[in-house]
Symmetry: C2
Subunit: 145 residues, 2 copies
């Protein structure tokens, strides 16, 4: 095969991890629960967070609000063990299949999943319908008020 | 309760859809397969794509490369029917649980899922391991060469 004119073929079909970081140096990181396939959360990773996640087997993200590496569960104990990890075709997103430890909750609100509200269309209007599950921890107790 | 000082409480706990679009007017849109919970793709939606997705029940995204609304499957026939749709705590991401029609493939490469390569750590290096599944369609035939 002739050499690629740009890096698209390698990135899309190759076996080399070549993350396509955005202008802020981030890729999208999606997290679902291994046991159920259930959506848990969406966050971002910079290069260091991605490397730490791969080397440690625990989810690390980049907190855009705190502008620093975020070891998920470092404060709450709700560490996410990575069971499986994939990258998408253009390598600007990674997907983590995880097991949640501690309270078993991924959301800072205490809910298991950040996706605790369903979008439903009612009479032409979109509204949110909570799943109604009880939170798995009290954020005030875990993070302080 | 006293009125919120900002819109965080409503956005995080309310039943009103208040998408937090980024500087480019987009939210992250994550797609998994209803039947299996399997990761399919990650894309973006602007306000119009989100409204079209909700009203039509078929996934619409905003194509950043083409700078236009993208009715997923409009060319390939691989329309994604939305079975369920959630928004996350801070409303900057939506999650779609879908059934793929046509070839049953979500990726432009012909693969069922854009996440067709597993990230594995081998001797301290991260490499990609293809799932090895055969593509479900030939992109050249579907999109032209």
């Amino acid at each position: 095969m002739s050499p690629a004119k740009n890096n698209l073929p390698d990135r899309e079909s190759g076996t080399q991890l070549m993350p396509k970081f955005n202008a802020n140096g981030l890729v999208t990181a999606v997290v679902s629960e291994s046991a159920s396939g259930r959506p848990l959360m969406v966050a971002h990773m910079n290069e260091a967070a991605l490397e730490l996640s791969i080397s440690s087997g625990e989810a690390h993200f980049f907190s855009r609000s705190r502008n620093q590496i975020w070891h998920k569960g470092g404060t709450s104990g709700n560490v996410l063990s990575i069971d499986d990890m994939w990258v998408d075709c253009d390598q600007d997103a990674v997907w983590l299949s995880v097991t949640a430890h501690g309270h078993g909750a991924a959301c800072h609100t205490g809910q298991k999943s950040c996706f605790f509200r369903r979008i439903v269309a009612k009479e032409g209007l979109a509204t949110l319908e909570p799943t109604g599950e009880a939170p798995l921890f009290d954020p005030k107790k875990v993070y302080g008020s």
